[in-house]
């Protein structure tokens, strides 16, 4: 019974943080609530006995997505504040375009520069901008603030929208309640065939053997998404370093953690990949931890990221899908694509997981770092 009380409390907290993440006025606050929400959702997954999903949700859903959104929000806020301030200055002096260009160089990035600079990497330009005191005194410097949320839209329209959305949620809830409570599912089908899967962890068996095709396509989706992100680069930056240049004080907190955490993260990441065959863990969870290690080192400005034109980087990106495809093609000899021979299944799964973990780590880190934005050093 106390377990159910805990579950009810957790569900309420998850719902509350989701509302705060969705309906709050401030983009930065909404993202922080989303990260909290992701961590609470990870606890829910543990309660549901899905530890593999909990690891993925905490590492990817809360961790990497959080970093990605905070960085994007800081950049968008900086990009928007400049014209907005310039416009206000232009209004007061009645000289439109000329003043806008001039004022645009001052007064920018104050909020962002103070708040999220080390995280998102304030560029040299915004640092210079901090020195120029053009900001209106009545404009509060709030980190990550973007355009006011929710725009116009009358209260009645919003209430109607809320009602309609509650209706959708209610219908989904009804559909859930209408499910057969003793629904069979596929647990038994998986559990009775675990001995031929080559992995004692049923989730890994499903991911890399029973439904390997899904996983293969998923690694392709990651690559395609990265191609999409890279295609947003400026021509002059193509082949350069991903993301903005990072700055961190050498003896600051970020740099200290950047030196202290990577060995721990490497150990945890490799352990998660290795243990995934028999325990919760696997290439995705371990790869995400390794990606976080790489991102931390880059964000702490300890090492620059590799240029996107690097051949070694490209090889690391495709290693997982290529190894996966090659082993899957070998399965054709035994009858069907991606069919693993029972005698070698566990060894082949270990090989695929190792290659996948490398590719996933590199791809995720590059996805979060964003398109190349620094010119290549000669």
């Amino acid at each position: 019974m106390s377990g159910l009380v805990f579950d009810a409390l957790l569900c309420t907290l998850i719902g509350g943080t989701a509302v705060a993440a969705v309906a709050g006025r401030d983009a930065f606050r909404s993202i922080v609530f989303y990260i909290v929400y992701g961590l609470l959702a990870a606890i829910a997954w543990v309660r549901l006995g899905a530890v593999d999903v909990a690891l993925a949700e905490a590492a990817i859903g809360a961790g990497l997505t959080g970093v990605l959104l905070v960085a994007a929000s800081a950049r968008v806020a900086r990009l928007l504040q400049r014209p907005a301030d310039a416009r206000r200055a232009a209004d007061s002096s009645a000289v439109a375009a000329g003043v806008e260009a001039g004022a645009g160089d001052g007064g920018t990035g104050v909020g962002v520069g103070v708040g999220v600079a080390t995280q998102a990497g304030a560029s040299d330009r915004s640092r210079r901008a901090v020195a120029a005191p053009m900001r209106q005194p009545d404009e509060p410097a709030r980190p990550g603030r973007t355009a006011p949320s929710a725009g116009s839209g009358s209260r009645a329209a919003r209430a109607l929208t809320a009602l309609a959305c509650a209706g959708v949620a209610g219908l989904v809830a009804l559909a859930v309640l209408a499910l057969d409570p003793a629904g069979a599912g596929l647990s038994e089908a998986v559990n009775t065939r675990l001995d031929i899967a080559g992995a004692a962890n049923p989730v890994t068996a499903v991911l890399l053997n029973f439904r390997a095709f899904d996983t293969l396509l998923e690694t392709m989706v990651l690559l395609v998404a990265l191609v999409g992100v890279w295609s947003l680069a400026d021509d002059r930056h193509w082949g350069g370093l991903p993301g903005l240049r990072q700055h961190a004080r050498h003896d600051g907190v970020l740099a200290s953690f950047g030196r202290f955490l990577p060995p721990v993260g490497l150990l945890v990441g490799v352990y998660l990949v290795w243990v995934g065959a028999s325990q919760p863990g696997g290439a995705f969870q371990g790869g995400t931890v390794l990606a976080a290690v790489a991102l931390l080192v880059v964000m702490a400005a300890l090492r620059p990221p590799p240029p996107v034109s690097s051949l070694r980087l490209r090889l690391a990106l495709v290693a997982g899908p290529v190894v996966f495809l090659a082993i899957g093609a070998l399965g054709l000899l035994g009858g069907h694509f991606l069919g693993l021979p029972v005698a070698f299944a566990s060894m082949l799964i270990a090989v695929i997981e190792a290659a996948l973990a490398l590719s996933i780590a590199v791809t995720l880190a590059l996805l979060v770092a964003g398109p190349p934005q620094q010119e290549r050093q000669p």
Binding site: V19, V22, I31, V53, A56, L68, T146, G151, D234, G370
Partner: protein, 157 residues
């Protein structure tokens, strides 16, 4: 906030049904509603991206909970594997969308879609619609400080 009260009501209903799996499935249903509301109501694209992620995560929670209706068998591994796949795909989509949003802000000085910006002129100061002269003025774009190309080539790609 209606969505939250729905969630609380759903939690109450589930307490009567007494099954953690149902409880979390209903929580997932409420999250879908909450996320959908944010996705419709919010104008800034990053806020919509957060709402999109809330919807997705609600669907995952619902899916995972329905895979746990017979706890003596343990959590069904097939939904778990599909959800892990889904979480990674959601991150890929989020990364691509975030990059597109940043690019839109750099090129056009806006963080909303044009059709949404059109009727939000009544917003507060620093609203989400860029001044018209700003669009023609490449030099005022923050990310373009060292860009050699003039305004004419901004849309050349």
């Amino acid at each position: 906030m209606t969505a939250l009260s729905t969630g609380v009501a759903a939690a109450g209903a589930a307490a009567a049904a007494v099954s953690p799996a149902t409880l979390y499935a209903l929580c997932g249903a409420a999250l879908i509603g909450i996320g959908l509301y944010g996705f419709i109501v919010q104008r800034p694209l990053l806020r919509r991206l957060v709402a999109f992620n809330v919807i997705g995560s609600g669907i995952f929670l619902l899916f995972g909970a329905t895979g746990w209706r017979q706890p003596h068998l343990g959590a069904d591994p097939v939904p778990q594997a599909l959800i892990i796949t889904g979480i990674v795909v959601a991150l890929s989509a989020t990364a691509l969308m975030a990059a597109l949003i940043v690019r839109l802000a750099a090129l056009d000085g806006r963080d909303t879609l044009p059709e949404d910006g059109a009727d939000s002129a009544s917003g507060t100061a620093g609203g989400d619609r860029p001044a018209v002269q700003g669009r023609a003025d490449g030099a005022s774009r923050p990310d373009r400080g060292t860009h050699r190309a003039g305004p004419a080539t901004r849309w050349s790609r």
